[in-house]
């Protein structure tokens, strides 16, 4: 297991290097410098600014000095928020986004698994169709539509919940978490239904039934562990996708998280910020994928043997 994790971490190094290089090249090939938007800056000031941000060096030199900084965990200063470093900005947004993502994932896992398992217990009956149709709606309803609709109904018409903000009024975290979590709940429902259906037709489930175990024990103790393997495999990419989802949800609900920072940085052409967040996101995604693979191995004895065999 340890060897496996180490191998995967080593593989991540070239991937990250590609990410950094591609992003760096893209950002630097953009027409117009980061300060060109400011009106009529005197030449000396521009020069001083460029010197401050090392923009007057040749590109390869900038690239290597940036690479050196990133390896040491320093993403450089922000272009648009003078005096603040990209590290600070990322850190300040990260907590919020992580909290939002965690709640959304809890919503998704809880609702998704219950719906999927319920559906799998009586396939092709009403108990299957209702949750699965709901799941299909959840998949087809993009978060930027679901969010505003929820705000419209629960925030504006019923006035049950706050329409925006984060950590200001009690209850203002409910709608963002549901908005972000719904799509994932729908996927998890479909995956857990499929996984459970496959497991429930296995011999060892028949054995458990023959022993006279209750349905609750059969599902809870024997079937779930195997049936949820597809869900676990989905969680890593899901967390990665959650970051993308947080762009929309944080914009809709005006949550000061990473996603909103990124979208703003994109609009403001805050290049160091874009560069820093991209590298940061890529690292996170790789880590999440690794974690979910390790979780899948831990859950699935067949895979465990394979890894041992290979290592």
């Amino acid at each position: 297991m340890f060897k496996f994790a180490l191998g995967r971490l080593l593989q991540a190094v070239p991937v990250l290097l590609v990410v950094i290089t591609m992003t760096f090249m893209l950002v630097h090939s953009a027409p117009g410098g980061p300060f060109s938007a400011d009106k009529a800056v005197p030449a000396e000031v521009l020069e001083a600014l460029e010197a401050q941000y090392n923009l007057n060096q040749p590109l390869w030199q900038q690239y290597f000095s940036y690479l050196g900084d990133v390896v040491q965990g320093d993403m450089g200063p922000s272009f648009k928020y003078p005096g603040r470093s990209v590290n600070e900005l990322i850190l300040s947004g990260l907590g919020t986004t992580a909290e939002l993502g965690l709640y959304a994932m809890l919503v998704a896992i809880f609702i998704g698994i219950i719906a999927g398992v319920t559906a799998s217990m009586r396939p092709n009956t009403i108990q299957d169709y209702v949750p699965m149709t709901a799941a299909m709606i959840g998949i087809c309803m993009p978060s930027f539509l679901l969010g505003p609709l929820l705000v419209l109904v629960f925030g504006i018409h019923l006035e049950w919940l706050p329409v925006s903000g984060w950590d200001q009024i009690p209850g203002d975290k409910v709608l963002p978490a549901i908005t972000l979590g719904t799509g994932y709940a729908a996927y998890i429902a479909r995956l857990s239904r499929g996984g459970m259906l496959e497991v429930l037709s296995q011999d060892y489930i028949r054995t458990a039934r023959a022993k006279g175990l209750s349905e609750f024990l059969i599902i809870g103790k024997h079937a779930l562990r195997g049936g949820l393997i597809p869900v676990v495999a989905f969680l890593g990419p899901a967390f990665a996708g959650l970051l993308g989802g947080s762009f929309v949800v944080e914009t809709i609900f005006q949550i000061p998280g990473l996603g909103r920072f990124y979208v703003q940085a994109a609009f403001n052409r805050d290049y160091t910020m874009i560069l820093g967040t991209t590298v940061f996101f890529a690292t996170l995604i790789i880590l999440f994928n690794l974690l979910s693979d390790m979780l899948a191995i831990w859950i699935n004895p067949k895979l465990r043997q394979q890894v041992r065999g290979n290592a």
Partner: protein
């Protein structure tokens, strides 16, 4: 993934495609999806002639009105007919969906086929690249492309197509790899058929099933991506319009004029619904393993 040996058993005279069509016809949801899609495509093609009002036609004095006999889906704050706007927006949304998917399809199929057919070190290197690209944060990458190179439609096609081809390449490669080792391909080789004929007669038809299924499922995800970008203001730019952009406008005024949000939302969701159901139906129909019980 279709196990390939099942393709051969056509002793009763029904080909895979006939079987698939028979199965698909039984799947009511998929058929509804297919009809809805055909309807939407025809509407989009005919929009310039059948749209009830002109695209730029404004009536500032009237402003936003709820649905009425003159304006079935109401009007927006500039007094523009929403049905007309949604029809024009749908043209762009569908066009992005189809063209960007076509780009992804072309790159993915060629790349995957070459990797799978050539095999060996070339294959290993090509797939390693795919692995690396998989690890990239797509969404961020597309946003980055749009920011750096400005927001135009052509780039949008390219950017979305460029990230959506990866899975396609993997699917095609897997198919081609397993086909290459099949007896009937070896038989064709020993008959002295040329490479090109083998590829055209045996390889391509047998990879078509999974490719079609994945294509139908890529279109909705591409449309969603476009809508997402347009919603953030990074995709389609006015005066052009798309469903994502209309939803974006709708959100701004949803308290006073909720129909400006709801109707484009329904249009987008219904289309995604139709495509997903059709894709699921096709998957069931084209996969010989799932015999309907």
């Amino acid at each position: 993934m279709i196990p390939n040996d099942t393709h051969i058993q056509s002793d009763k005279g029904t080909s895979l495609w006939e079987d698939a069509w028979i199965k698909l016809r039984k799947n009511r949801l998929a058929l509804i999806g297919l009809s809805l899609l055909i309807f939407l495509c025809i509407m989009s093609l005919l929009t310039p002639w059948i749209a009830p009002y002109g695209y730029e036609e404004q009536d500032l004095l009237m402003g936003a009105t709820p649905p009425s006999a003159q304006h079935w889906l109401g009007t927006d704050i500039f007094g523009r007919d929403m049905l007309t706007r949604i029809m024009w927006g749908g043209r762009v949304s569908l066009m992005v969906g189809f063209i960007a998917t076509a780009v992804a399809l072309a790159i993915g199929v060629i790349y995957g086929a070459v990797a799978g057919y050539v095999g060996g070190r070339v294959d290993a290197a090509m797939m390693r690249l795919v692995d690396i690209l998989y690890a990239l944060p797509f969404m961020i990458f597309i946003i980055l492309l749009m920011v750096v190179f400005g927001r135009n439609l052509l780039l949008l096609f390219f950017a979305i197509g460029a990230v959506e081809w990866l899975t396609m390449a993997r699917i095609v490669r897997g198919q081609v790899m397993s086909l290459r080792k099949q007896e009937f391909v070896e038989a064709a080789h020993s008959l002295g058929l040329s490479q090109w004929i083998i590829i055209r007669r045996h390889i391509i038809p047998n990879t078509l099933g999974p490719v079609i299924v994945y294509t139908t499922l890529t279109i909705p995800s591409v449309m969603l991506l476009e809508a997402f970008l347009s919603f953030l203001g990074l995709g389609i730019q006015p005066p052009q319009s798309s469903w994502g952009l209309l939803i974006n406008y709708g959100v701004e005024t949803m308290e006073e004029y909720p129909w400006l949000l709801i109707f484009p939302g329904i249009a987008l969701s219904l289309t995604l619904f139709a495509l997903n159901f059709l894709g699921d139906g096709l998957r069931d129909a084209l996969d010989p393993r799932t015999s309907k019980d």
